[in-house]
Symmetry: C2
DNA sequence: GAAGGGTATTGCAACGTTGCATTCAACGAT
DNA sequence: ATCGTTGAATGCAACGTTGCAATACCCTTC
């Protein structure tokens, strides 16, 4: 059933080493020998044993990708791009779902040391960045979207503060004055929400608009349901907003849903800006204005970082902070 | 940097084998020895080398999952469930994106023989089922949603014909008479679209409604854009439909989008039923009526199949065809 | 005090592959 | 004819782990 170099060698009447040479193509092999070996390989259906290869080479050709949720459109799209980009480099991707669970993230880092993977791309969510830095695994690490504390690892992200500032500024420029924010997550160590909140406040301050605490809504997660809940709370509150900046497109879509339910016209009565540029947002009714991070670049540069560290561990540069571009895409909700 | 059993053994002053015993916990070790070894492990930060373990054990603890697109909500949600379920069984999942590309699917099956993976779950798309059966890899295989030709592998799917029949029947029961179908894919070997079309036609026949060729729209892919295009063609055609059965929720959402654009009221002027029950559909405006496959069961039973074949290759039963339940979820579009 | 049974520890070998060094043959140049 | 060079094929060893079998030791029992 499972044939080895040895079996092929026996069948072709050559040594194990020669078969290995044919398979790898590294050394020179006489044409007729090569042909004979190839025949034996085909007949036996030989496939190299990657565990043995990895053991020998000290590398697996596998990288790990850890994201909170695969089923969320943003991470789904990003994972798709990363896998695609990894294939280009003939890497295989192991995907892990941490589910916003700190334990799962810890387990993952621990396994990173187990050297199943040559490198790790992680989008931290629940784990304390300081702990993350301390537990740094035995393999090269790239952080997505999270500022690592003392530069423990390479990091790829958009400029969240500026992006949120732009989103809010866009609403202000449309004449909106009661601008709510949906998506604060003070309970999580993940800094993304904090940065976006900072950008939101900065834009308000610059325009001389008051920061209303009740207009800044905390959410448990970034799903549509959370956005819907927050929107309902806002509309039931003392001062209904005339615009909303949601920290993710999913939140925005949830908010949009509630706005429709309540009979509000979008964007006339309520303008909405999201964040992520997921595909759904292009097909919502009306289509969603959003901040679009350059996901393709996130994927490319993350893998570039990993490749540099995996293949040239010698000339290790200090951890880098890479900022990928973003842009405001104006659609129907503003 | 990378410590081995040998290093730990040297430090703790015991043999390599004893360290291995401590790590695996299989044999009995004296408490004080265990403690001494554990200290050495902690100090050196020892992590087992999984390549070596796999080589020894003949198993990797990794299973492969091949889906056409990670970024599509349906596959994203399904992948999430599968990964979660795999974690429960302490398996790691490698995800591969075939992109509806037959070559990618072939490459994957070939690699399956490379024994990086102990088993493979594949959602075939572009590959000819007959070829798929012929190329059966060296590892256990589970097919998602595809009827394998001569029962070459286990298969997990919903009853597509019946489900499509129910969806169409639902529209008929609402009094609709000009019911279009969006999602035919005669160019693909993937049988899913064909089965859903069959169910659609069966329902029409039973109700004595004519099968209008121009009401059965072919699509290139199952995305919103394809649904939008097909809907536009239908509305520009000679007889505008009063209902649409879309073979996926994404198609349905694209169609819904165009319906809004054209000023049609949904469901009054146009009723829509989708297929998949993706999360977006619950938050569209109005929420989407759809056929919901039991994704949790798809995940559970696929992995159960794999586990059976991986751990008990001896008592190999013939390939099974598992049908998972589905149900019609009525929401706002009908 | 010898025999028997259990516990704790160990050495050897093997999983399948590839790097290194070596061998052997053939050929062209001197 | 001899030497050096190149091409082709090979054997040995090692990657880090664990199964198997063997050993050494202590304790109980008659």
């Amino acid at each position: 059933m499972s044939s080895r170099l040895k079996d092929v060698a026996a069948r072709a009447g050559v040594s194990v080493r020669t078969v290995s040479n044919v398979v790898s193509g590294s050394a020179s092999v006489a044409p007729e020998t090569r042909e004979r070996v190839q025949e034996a390989i085909d007949e036996l259906g030989y496939r190299p044993n990657l565990a043995a290869r990895s053991l020998r080479a000290g590398r697996t050709g596998i990288i790990g990708l850890a994201i909170p949720e695969l089923h969320s459109p943003y991470f789904g799209e990003l994972a798709g791009l990363l896998v695609q980009e990894a294939q280009r480099r003939s890497w295989t991707v192991i995907i892990d779902q941490t589910g916003g669970d700190a334990d799962a993230e810890r387990r993952l880092l621990a396994r990173g040391g187990g050297r199943v993977v040559d490198g790790l791309i992680i989008s931290p969510w629940a784990m304390d960045p300081a702990e993350l830095a301390a537990t740094a695994p035995a393999v090269p690490l790239v952080l997505l979207g999270e500022r690592s504390p003392q530069g423990a690892a390479d990091r790829v992200a958009v400029d969240n503060v500026t992006a949120a500032d732009e989103a809010t500024g866009h609403l202000i420029s449309l004449g909106r004055r009661r601008i709510a924010a949906i998506g604060l997550q003070p309970h999580l160590h993940n800094g993304t929400a904090r940065l976006r909140a900072e950008g939101y406040r900065r834009a308000l301050d610059r325009a001389g608009l008051p920061r209303l605490p009740e207009a800044q809504r905390t959410v448990a997660a970034l799903h549509r349901a959370d956005g819907a809940r927050a929107m309902a709370e806002l509309l039931d509150g003392p001062t209904a907003p005339d615009a909303v900046f949601a920290f993710s497109d999913e939140l925005a879509l949830g908010a949009l849903h509630v706005a429709h339910e309540r009979g509000l016209r979008v964007p006339e009565d309520l303008a909405i800006v999201g964040f992520d540029d997921i595909e759904d947002g292009r097909y919502s009714h009306p289509p969603l204005t959003t901040i679009a991070p350059d996901k393709q670049q996130i994927a490319e540069r993350s893998l570039q970082c990993l490749a540099d560290r995996i293949y040239s561990p010698g000339n290790a540069v200090p951890p880098q902070e890479l900022t990928v571009p973003h842009r405001l895409i104006r659609r129907g909700t503003t």
